[in-house]
């Protein structure tokens, strides 16, 4: 197995184009664990460590841009992720444990596309856009189109995530991330992310995503519409929760049964909605 440490993005892309069985190594937390378990046998590894343009968080004209190689710990401490973007920060802070958060990266995490992981759910709710590059050029797609199935993304051979773009949070926007796992630092049995805004205690925009309850983060335009115009005491919230439950397609696994996951979604949507509405009051 060969090892390359390209100094520029161009060099990295050329290496990936050249060898379809080569894999990128970002933080390594997932890839090396899989190599240790003999689940992957790449022909070569292309380290992204030396490519400085992939790191860091910067403001752009329409929002915030997080470089693919930015560690979770940095995202978890980023003050510019406020309002509807706070959910991304909360998700980053929930991933694994401190030593994992020091090396794990947003690019690596979303490329792995585990629907029980924290970032995919939060990014779908926050309506993030994923910037992808290859030797053939650059494209940007919405997060919900990036995650296609279990461990499957829209990345084609030779493509690489370079950044995650988040829209500027509006003044009155809020967000909440709630994760239920068996133990601290576990993957989610189920997780819910809510992004939205309120005026006069009524919701004026909403974007909800659910993790751990399907092969990708679950979202529903119908649910989002039902939440708009509602306050935390509205009976529409419970109805929206039912629709959300029906949109989910959970399985039974060691972290919980499908039934339990549905129960969690049904019970927690009203909670996080209420929590979000209270955040506005503050």
């Amino acid at each position: 197995m060969q090892y390359f440490r390209p100094a520029t993005l161009e060099q990295a892309l050329a290496l990936l184009a050249d060898d379809p069985d080569a894999r990128c190594i970002a933080g390594g937390a997932t890839l090396v664990a899989m190599m240790n378990a003999d689940l992957v046998q790449p022909s070569a590894l292309v380290s992204l460590k030396g490519i400085s343009e992939l790191r860091g968080i910067r403001a752009t004209e329409d929002g915030v841009c997080i470089g693919a190689m930015t560690p979770h710990k940095v995202v978890a401490n980023e003050d510019r992720l406020t309002g509807r973007l706070e959910v991304v920060r909360m998700a980053a802070g929930s991933i694994g444990h401190p030593p994992i958060r020091s090396v794990g990266t947003i690019g690596g995490s979303i490329s792995h596309a585990d629907p029980a992981a924290d970032y995919p759910t939060a990014l779908v709710a926050a309506e993030a856009r994923i910037e992808i590059v290859s030797v053939h050029g650059r494209r940007v797609i919405p997060a919900h189109e990036f995650f296609i199935s279990y461990y499957t993304t829209a990345l084609e051979s030779g493509e690489l995530v370079v950044a995650v773009h988040l829209p500027t949070p509006s003044q009155d926007s809020v967000s909440v991330y709630r994760k239920v796992g068996r133990a601290d630092g576990d993957f989610a049995t189920a997780s819910l992310a809510f992004c939205g805004s309120f005026a006069n205690k009524q919701c004026i925009s909403a974007s909800v995503a659910v993790g751990g309850c399907g092969d990708t983060p679950v979202r529903s335009a119908e649910v989002n519409e039902m939440l708009v115009g509602s306050g935390p005491d509205s009976p529409r919230i419970a109805q929206a929760a039912e629709v959300l439950v029906e949109t989910c397609d959970p399985i039974d696994d060691v972290r919980g049964s499908a039934d339990y996951r549905r129960l969690l979604v049904r019970r927690l949507l009203p909670r996080i909605f209420a929590q979000a509405s209270q955040k506005v009051a503050q």
Binding site: M1, Q2, Y3, R5, I25, G28, A29, V32, A33, M35, N36, A37, A44, L45, S47, K49, G96, H97, P98, P99, I100, S102, V103, D184, G185
Partner: protein, 163 residues
């Protein structure tokens, strides 16, 4: 047939460990843990699960706790690595190490190197952590013997004695 013939050529790298530079020849897939234990015989860093969960393989990469089992050796050639063997100064145990011994924290001891390194990194960043901060810092290091209580006590003691 010589069993070494089938091994591809490896190129050497330098690893900076505990202030010393070591020339090693790891394969691409060799983790830092593998190199530390099997090539450099620095066996204080343990292999408890090889999946990045238990934390017994903890080392410091540029002062930050990291899982040596999830770190490729080739990724570390430009970093300062600290292992448990590097905490003592001229044979004298560090404050954290002394505190762990003083409160009788070690039981089977297998988690201790990882705990000591995480504690060291924490106190360097936050000289006066509260219980919640200590437990959060330790949350990625598993222990089956102690229930963590005396490890937390040791860190509080070390923080106090460092003043």
């Amino acid at each position: 047939m010589n069993w070494t013939n089938n091994m591809p050529a490896r190129h050497g790298i330098e690893l900076h460990i505990n202030g010393e530079t070591h020339a090693v020849f790891p394969k691409t897939e060799h983790t830092l843990l593998e190199v530390l234990r099997s090539q450099l015989f620095l066996t204080g860093t343990k292999r408890g699960c090889n999946q990045g969960v238990c934390g017994t393989c903890t080392v410091l990469r540029n002062g930050e706790p990291a899982r040596a089992c999830l770190t490729l050796a080739h990724e570390c050639d430009d970093e300062e690595i600290t292992t448990i063997e590097g905490l003592a100064t001229e044979g004298k145990a560090s404050l954290v190490q002394q505190a762990l011994v003083k409160v009788s924290a070690p039981q089977c001891g297998f988690c201790m190197p990882g705990m000591a390194l995480v504690a060291t990194a924490l106190l360097q960043k936050e000289p006066n952590p509260d219980q919640a901060e200590i437990r959060e810092a330790l949350s990625g290091n598993l222990c089956r013997c102690t229930g963590y209580v005396q490890i937390v006590e040791a860190i509080e003691l070390a923080a106090k004695e460092a003043v």
